[in-house]
Subunit: 82 residues, 2 copies
Amino acid sequence: MKARVTVTLKPGVLDPQGKAIEGALRSMSIEGVHAVRQGKIFDIEIDGEDHKRARATLGEACERLLANTLVEDYAIEVAKSP
Amino acid sequence: MKARVTVTLKPGVLDPQGKAIEGALRSMSIEGVHAVRQGKIFDIEIDGEDHKRARATLGEACERLLANTLVEDYAIEVAKSP
């Protein structure tokens, strides 16, 4: 079963990397882009077909490793394998 | 207008960071997780309400800055502002 975990900075947390990208785009004459915020995704293959169990496993993985829950939010999407 | 750009490694490109995460999860007794691949997202505010133009701008941003198109794929989602 495939899953995608998305980790983003919580609103209000400063994102200097996003700011740098914004500045870089402007200096490349790519205009109209602002408020860039960077995040991470993890595409994961997970055993079994039990969505609830997969979500629980991934939730634990986020809490303990993938996200810093002080400053980051995470979202889990589980897709059926084809 | 809000947009999200997702940058992922092309299939077949090695992802040592993903491998390390996989190993770390196993060592934390989080089982059943394999084939972890890491990617990046960029949440972007873009001026105007013209979806086609926004996509063109973001496509250029991806080609020139956000993605390394030799080894990475990118996807652009544009959402209407509320």
